[in-house]
């Protein structure tokens, strides 16, 4: 009984940390007119804050849950496609071709660059990657 309750408060504390860091990120982003959106600044702040167990343990509990269901969070904006039906009917085919091709190009370039660079690494390093 005590354990799940402890876990729950940990998750909530983690959410509180994430929201607090996002707020700090928004303030910094707007206040200093940084090129990064607020949540991105929040992510960088989190990277600095994770060295403290006080932040790390609750954030780990919350982040794992949130990131495991990351795809759900895209559904509301995805449905927004219905508000652009006129653009879609006019340019839909072309937009789809552009998005599909550019995604495949980006994905292929990333994988090929990483694959090519891997060949140049020493055997020890390759072993370290396998761990």
């Amino acid at each position: 009984m005590a354990e799940p309750a402890g876990h729950n408060i940990k998750g909530l504390t983690g959410l509180a940390w994430l929201l607090a860091l996002q707020s700090a990120g928004e303030l910094l982003s707007r206040g200093l007119s940084l090129p990064f959106p607020g949540p991105v600044v929040g992510m960088m702040l989190l990277l600095l804050a994770l060295r403290w167990p006080l932040v790390r343990e609750p954030v780990a509990a919350c982040a794992n849950f949130l990131l495991a269901h990351l795809s759900l969070l895209f559904v509301p904006v995805g449905v927004g496609v219905m508000t652009h039906l006129s653009l879609v009917s006019q340019y839909g085919g072309r937009m789809l071709v552009v998005v599909v091709l550019s995604t495949l190009i980006g994905m292929a370039v990333t994988a090929l660059v990483l694959h090519a660079l891997r060949g140049k690494s020493s055997p020890q390093e390759d072993h370290a990657q396998v761990r």
Partner: protein, 242 residues
């Protein structure tokens, strides 16, 4: 019958409807996806979007009415972006070790995706604001919206492009990597995952996490890195070119 219509009108106008519909349809789509052994074509985001949009269009419920409820889910994208620091931090040792090549791959892939989208968009004659909305499509939707807003694109359209980009990665990633003979050993999975996270953000990363743990970790790392690089580079390039 009129009673039923009255009830539907009432229910469809409360925020409860949008929130419930999103969660229930997503959970059903996710369950079906797992039951079918996770084939790429049964992607739960794709089917949830198609089903919800069809229901809204056929019943005449407007998107703002739906979003009044769905915004509670949408809101979590902010903390989720912050949470991306967690997979980055967990892999910090590897990140430090392989910093150079990962950064190079992230830069090359991010620039290739963004530049080819803008170039192709112009080539096929899309309007300027649509082309600008294409530029940040490789990053997760909320960040893509923020960047599109900064450079004069349409935020809502940028979000939709980002979602479709994610789906393209999740749907065709495996076939593409197989065609380019990227192996399926530990380093190969890392490259596949990293490429999925770079070019198709959270939706691609979600797919990578389901296929292989190494691929998933590298996808999470890549999408965090891409968020930082894209939000730095695209507004900068845009400012320099104007």
């Amino acid at each position: 019958m009129p009673k039923f219509v009255e009830l539907w009108v009432y229910l469809s106008a409360t925020p409860l409807f949008g929130l419930t519909a999103t969660l229930v349809i997503y959970v059903l789509a996710q369950t079906l996806y797992t039951r079918l052994n996770q084939p790429a074509w049964a992607n739960p985001v794709l089917w949830s979007v198609v089903i919800i949009a069809s229901v809204l269009l056929t019943t005449g419920v407007s998107y703002p009415t739906y979003f009044a409820g769905a915004q509670f889910i949408h809101f979590l994208l902010g903390p989720a972006v912050v949470a991306l620091g967690w997979p980055l931090w967990k892999r910090r040792v590897e990140l430090r070790q392989r910093w150079g090549r990962l950064l190079l791959a992230a830069l090359a892939g991010g620039i290739a995706a963004s530049a080819s989208a803008v170039a192709l968009g112009w080539l096929v004659g899309l309007p300027t604001d649509v082309v600008l909305s294409l530029a940040p499509k490789s990053v997760t939707a909320p960040v893509a919206m923020g960047i599109a807003e900064k450079i004069g694109g349409i935020p809502a359209l940028a979000a939709v492009f980002a979602v479709i980009t994610g789906l393209v990665g999740a749907l065709f990633g495996k076939a593409l990597f197989d065609a380019f003979k990227i192996p399926t050993d530990a380093a190969g999975w890392a490259a596949r995952g990293f490429a999925l996270g770079t070019a198709s953000h959270g939706i691609g990363a979600a797919r990578a996490m389901q296929v292989n743990a190494d691929a998933g970790a590298y996808a999470g790392l890549a999408l965090g890195l891409q968020v930082v690089l894209t939000s730095l580079l695209i507004p900068l390039v845009f400012r320099l070119s104007h």
